[in-house]
């Protein structure tokens, strides 16, 4: 159901097509929510059918630009203020850590090292992203910057933790 609100939220900023939204998912929203092409087009049709968004323009190659409606914006605000976010429940990288006891110490250490490297690579990606965006001085980019900061802190934390974890391993 969150995909629905992710789409509403993006359309609250500016009108966009399904194709545009798929790219936005991949760039800015990637570490907060993911959605496949097929799911996004299906959900956009459903949102239009219930009147939370509407086709506001048509472009070449069957492009349909959607705009959020008043009821859509109201529904987005209701979601933000009257419902509670679900705690996160799926972290495959961490899940694997619990079971490293079935591997050799060398293999376990190599996995932890891989986690450190993934975190470092993602940190590099994010700092590149931060610099590639020229942040306008508006509401949307304030919160975009705050979310990006979360990503940077998350990656830093993961890398430090993975390096700490390697140190906890007995010498072999």
């Amino acid at each position: 159901m969150s995909l629905r609100y992710a789409l509403l939220g993006m359309l609250a900023e500016c009108p966009a097509s399904g194709y545009d939204l798929i790219r936005q998912f991949k760039s800015s929203l990637a570490y907060a929510w993911s959605g496949t092409q097929s799911q996004i087009y299906t959900e956009l049709s459903a949102l239009a059918e219930v009147g939370l968004i509407a086709v506001s323009d048509a472009g070449p190659r069957g492009r349909k630009e959607y705009t959020i409606s008043d009821t859509g914006l109201t529904e987005l605000r209701r979601w933000l203020t009257e419902t509670k976010p679900k705690p996160l429940a799926r972290n495959e990288k961490l899940l694997r850590v619990f079971f490293l006891g079935v591997l050799s110490k060398k293999q376990a250490e190599s996995y932890l090292n891989e986690l450190a490297m993934i975190a470092a690579a993602q940190a590099a990606e994010l700092s590149e992203l931060r610099e590639s965006i020229d942040w306008p001085d508006d509401e949307y980019s304030r919160y975009g910057r705050i979310a990006l900061e979360w990503g940077e802190r998350y990656n830093a934390m993961n890398e430090e933790w993975a390096r700490w974890a390697i140190e906890q391993m007995p010498r072999h």
Copy 2:
């Protein structure tokens, strides 16, 4: 598919019933993976059918204790060493941050404050958990402690970040 490996991983430590595993999901594994009662019983039947686990004992009230098989353990090791963990893709708390621009500053700040409080509460829960467990000196608890440390760092990071975010908001 990860649920399958979560179950295999828990059974690699010691034999257990579906009921036991459900409780383990709620206590130690909760922030790494979640699974409902219905999903867990269904998956255990499927795992038994393909021979990755087997019923090793029967108890009162139809209790069935499962034990991991050799092929099950091999499959768990294969998953850990030969497949890559999927990056995390769903964080509803963070998703909402992107869209706080549609709320008033007061409402947005109140949301960020709520995030700080959730993180603090979870940190308290985890430190209680750390103290309630008497950590045996074996492989499984080494990695359990490492995973718990991740949770503590994650919560600390979230709380600090949320407080930092509130400071970024303009005075009103």
